[in-house]
Symmetry: C2
Subunit: 269 residues, 2 copies
DNA sequence: CTTTGCAGG
DNA sequence: CCTGTAAAG
């Protein structure tokens, strides 16, 4: 027995679900699908997208700004409980977290904040290395980690989604050029150091070791994807109690339709 | 000897000039082309669009809002003088009028104001028949007429462009349904009554009489164009001194690429 | 570069 | 419905 889970930042579910690439969903044989950046309320989608037969669908949508952020989880397994967003109002409203409690583990689907644009000084010139939303991003990660740790007291944890951080130099094509760009800032990388030190295992690295050139996001600019100038910022982490049960972890970089590709995890269970 | 002039509301010159339909321009054998709703500054266009070889180009662009309104005139004949906008500052800034003085006549290319959306009452409900910009539209027409009459003292006048008014019931497919819609309001139609009473001749009607079903604009909604549910709101008027010289006037309703089609005039001269 | 939102027509 | 804009990624 095994359970297969996949995660995909779709960059607009209305757009993706109108493309031929959306057959990815119909052809998918996994048990749980976490989507990020849905940028839509379910009622804005065709019924077969919002409520596909054979799946239970859950949504967390942005209420602070429409067409922004948003996550969804489709599951063939009925969860014991479902929670939208983090517990504190401070971190609610952008539709970033769905928490499904399954029999054997807590499952989190997260669209973690982007660091945003560089801050501008009084003269309107960008301040190198200072990004508008990095403080919010770091606070969000801390709040998430505290909640995950709390949940982990009852059973193991699986976290997937777009972390908007490449952990190590090996996780992006151009590490040196990006040391002062959000997504690879020292303080962002340090969060993933702390997170993994708590016992959250990067399942792709666990399975594939230090393989190079495997990414999950490519800028739409400069034909980055055809040159594989990418970043690995989409992850499946499991709390280390589940490490013995990791059967496989992968990156579906043959799937197009978004600037991200799906990533997956299979657990023996 | 004759001179041929055409007028086209392109609904975005950047968009049209990227479509195959823009071959209309390259294949055009006329002497003067007036465009409306260019929605662009010439420097935003490819050089062969902004400054086509063999033509003199003139532009009046909106300075109050970018990507809005805007007119252009391409001429194979060098004008004696060129004036942008109406003389009074009150009616300037939206890029609506180009006035080229030729040897035998004053030529005006106009994008006359749209009546806008219905005004809302205190409860946010639309007030039937009350449109936000109809007062501005009527003021603009009066200012234009005064200017044209002033110019007409020195030589005859040719006026083309999008008037955003259907003159008579015969000039739109659904007159009854539109009696309370801007474009066919009594006060708008009354302006064209006054304008023609001053001696400005609707050249299409002069040539074709009361022919029905010939329109120059179709809503993009409801497949109006394939059903020919249109309006004739694009005109060539000439002051009656030129009436003996009208050789032809036409509507190029086989030209696609905009919600309007071109209209044309040939004068013996 | 791409997806959203929105104004304007 | 289509063209522009802007914000966000």
């Amino acid at each position: 027995m095994s359970i297969r889970l996949v995660s995909w930042n779709v960059n607009g579910l209305r757009a993706v679900s109108a493309k031929p690439e959306w057959r990815w969903f119909a052809e998918n044989t996994c048990d749980v699908i976490g989507l990020q950046e849905t940028k839509a309320m379910p009622e804005q989608l065709r019924p077969e997208v919002a409520s596909p037969a054979g799946w239970e669908a859950h949504w967390a949508s942005s209420v602070v700004k429409k067409g922004y952020s948003g996550v969804a989880v489709f599951s063939r397994i009925k969860p014991l409980a479902v929670h939208c967003e983090l517990p504190q109002p401070e971190w609610q409203g952008e539709g970033r977290i769905l928490h499904l409690e399954f029999e054997k583990f807590h499952f989190f689907n997260g669209y973690f904040p982007n660091g945003g644009a560089e801050e501008l000084d009084e003269n309107g010139k960008p301040i190198p290395g200072r990004f508008k939303r990095v403080p919010y991003k770091m606070g969000f990660f801390d709040a998430f980690t505290a909640y995950a740790e709390e949940c982990r007291k009852s059973k193991p944890v699986v976290v997937c989604g777009d972390f908007n951080i490449a952990h190590r130099a090996i996780d992006l094509a151009r590490p040196r050029q990006n040391e002062k760009n959000t997504g690879f800032l020292p303080e962002e990388r340090a969060f993933l150091d702390r997170f993994t030190a708590l016992g959250y295992v990067d399942t792709f690295r666990h399975v594939h070791g230090d393989v190079e050139g495997r990414y999950s996001w490519w800028s739409y600019k400069m034909r980055a994807r055809e040159k594989n100038v990418g970043w690995r910022i989409d992850y499946f982490f499991v709390s280390e109690e589940l490490k013995p049960y990791i059967r496989d972890a992968w990156i579906e970089d043959d799937v197009y339709g978004s600037d991200h590709c799906p990533v997956g995890l299979e657990l023996d269970i």
